[in-house]
């Protein structure tokens, strides 16, 4: 097995729960997912070295940050971690430029204007450089915070609910930067969130936490496509399928090619040929035994039932294998019985085009 990009083994006592976490993640973006109070922030603060009353071992690549057995525990300032906080935490007495430059100045590195300019340009913050930070908008602050973290030449980026304080349009403004960082693949990212949309958009790997313990970890597409994985609220259950932009039609639709099946979505601003990830909420999927005729939904995916997970309430979640990938559908137990669905049943999954929100469509690979 190749060495994981990020490996975290932690034990700690916290008010209300004991942290006992064992995470091993490949390169890319790892999402720590869980409700508030599940221990996500405890984990990232321990990785950053901001809390040190923990025992265990943390490595990033071959760099050891913590190894209690060997008595190694690097200070926060020695860990080379770019931490993007929920509340940005820009320094109010410094301009944007000096915030961005802070890590370089305190570590006495020579100026690298090419790198500085590249980061500033990528984040589109060139016009803010001479501004002071308290008057920036929430989105601007978070972009500057990302830039400041990147310019510290981190070997790991930590992001603790970086979008939680932003409204939806602002979230849409910031998400693509994380997609881009993930796809550039230079630095592994550990990203904390309780939003399934963000998981679906960003995660290469999902680590689900509950009461300080890892209840599930693995490849994001596999985990999200598993009907037994419950991200808290059943309404946020949904699988992610990988597709490619095939064409834009002049009636405002974008056609995707998902494993040979055409999928129609409201227009997305990506060039034909671009790979995309699409989250399909389980509650937006209708199941039909036969190929439906005369209905308005444009997307129809033939598939086979892979698993049935009956909930405690009136609902059930089914996973289907389609040539587009795994799709989840949430239906009532009554329909389950009426259609006589069980593992192996062949059927059609119908998805309304307009049910797929732009925020459900993410950038390239995962």
């Amino acid at each position: 097995m190749t060495q994981p990009a990020l490996s975290i083994t932690l034990r700690a006592k916290r008010p209300g729960f004991d942290l006992d976490v064992d995470v091993s993640a490949p390169a890319g973006l790892t999402v720590l997912f869980g409700a508030s109070g599940s221990g996500k922030t405890s984990v990232v603060d321990a990785v950053a070295g901001l809390t040190r009353d923990v025992s265990g071992r943390i490595t990033v690549g071959d760099h050891v940050l913590l190894d209690s057995a060997q008595g190694i525990c690097l200070s926060a300032h020695e860990r080379r971690i770019g931490y993007v906080f929920q509340d940005a935490r820009l320094f109010p007495h410094l301009t944007v430029r000096r915030n961005l430059d802070y890590a370089r100045r305190v570590t006495r590195q020579p100026a690298d204007t090419a790198r500085f300019d590249r980061v500033v340009e990528m984040l589109g913050i060139g016009h803010l450089l001479d501004r002071r930070t308290p008057r920036l908008s929430g989105g601007e602050k978070q972009r500057v915070a990302i830039g400041r973290a990147l310019l510290s030449r981190p070997q790991l980026i930590l992001a603790d609910e970086p979008l939680a304080a932003l409204d939806d349009p602002r979230k849409e403004e910031i998400l693509p930067y994380f997609e881009r960082l993930r796809d550039e693949g230079e630095v592994p990212i550990l990203y904390v969130t309780h939003s399934t949309t963000e998981v679906a958009r960003l995660a290469t790997t999902v680590v689900a936490l509950e009461n300080g313990r890892v209840v599930r970890q693995g490849n994001a597409i596999e985990v999200l496509g598993d009907p037994s994985f419950s991200p808290g609220d059943v309404r946020s259950v949904g699988a992610v399928i990988e597709a490619r932009v095939a064409a834009h039609h002049n009636d405002g639709l974008t056609e995707l090619n998902a494993g040979g099946i055409p999928l129609f979505l409201p227009r997305i601003a990506r060039d034909p040929g671009t790979p995309v990830r699409v989250r399909i909420a389980a509650q937006d999927v209708i199941l039909s035994r036969g190929r439906p005729e005369g209905i308005s939904a444009l997307n129809c995916l033939p598939g086979v039932v892979h698993e049935v997970q009956e909930g405690a309430g009136p609902g059930a979640i089914l996973s289907l294998d389609t040539s587009a990938g795994r799709v989840l559908a949430r239906i009532t137990k009554r329909s389950l019985a009426a259609l006589d669905l069980s593992v192996g049943t062949a059927l059609y999954a119908i998805v309304k085009t307009v049910a797929v929100a732009p925020s459900d469509v993410g950038g390239p690979k995962g």
């Binding site: 200070s75 300032h77 931490y83 509340d87 109010p92 007495h93 305190v106 002071r132 008057r135 510290s152």
Partner: protein, 230 residues
């Protein structure tokens, strides 16, 4: 300042010198102690806190007498300092020490409050960006606490200018050496016909105190504005 007599002028100049040195030398210590009290937990913290505040509560004469017992010419510490060329008893240097100690609690209080108001989350963010403890303090805590530090310094300076009880007990009231403005006012009031000289010094005291207050207001406001404005 031709309307001041030579004796009065001497007292004003001496007071400025004493208060200036007292403030300059105690400020770094006050910042260090204030940071300790604001940010660190350690055994004996309450004792340190109490000691710092003691001069505020004790009768100044008691503080002065304790200084005399410690730093007097025949006391061990005093003798050692005299040997090292820094005699304190009955010297202006002693007046500066007394003024520094009397102003110290005021300085520490103001600075401690302003350091406590600095968000520790910003300091944590600085640490993740590679700043060691000293760097964090110098680049984040200190600049953000600056308005309070200035206020503390001005308070300390004003207290040093006005210190009377501890000074007169420790270093007496020697013209040209330890007769600061308050001692001079006191002396003038003891002799017949000294009221007008005393009154002139009172006016000077008020002007210096007001000037210091206005200067600190202006500085603190300018800094606060710089930090809030775009």
């Amino acid at each position: 300042m031709s309307w001041l007599g030579p004796e009065e002028w001497q007292a004003v100049a001496l007071s400025l010198k004493v208060a200036g040195w007292a403030t300059a030398l105690s400020l770094p210590v006050a910042i260090w102690v204030a940071h300790l009290l604001a940010r660190k937990e350690f055994p004996g913290k309450q004792v340190v806190n109490g000691l710092v505040h003691l001069p505020l509560i004790l009768p100044p004469v008691v503080t002065g007498y304790l200084l005399l017992l410690t730093f007097g010419g025949t006391a061990p510490v005093g003798a050692l300092l005299t040997k090292l060329g820094l005699p304190l008893a009955f010297r202006w240097t002693g007046a500066a020490l007394a003024a520094a100690i009397m102003g110290f609690p005021l300085m520490v209080r103001a600075i401690r409050l302003s350091i406590e108001a600095v968000d520790p989350k910003l300091e944590a963010a600085a640490a993740t960006l590679g700043a060691g403890r000293w760097s964090v303090f110098a680049t984040i805590t200190l600049p953000l606490a600056l308005p309070g530090i200035i206020a503390g310094a001005i308070l300390g300076f004003a207290k040093a200018m006005g210190e009377f009880g501890a000074t007169i007990t420790f270093v007496s009231n020697i013209p040209g050496e330890t007769r600061t403005v308050p001692s001079a006012i006191y002396s003038f009031l003891q002799v017949p016909g000294g009221e007008s000289a005393a009154l002139r010094l009172v006016v000077i005291s008020i002007i210096i105190a007001m000037g210091a207050l206005v200067a600190s207001e202006v500085l603190a406001r300018r800094i606060a504005k710089r930090m809030e404005d775009a």
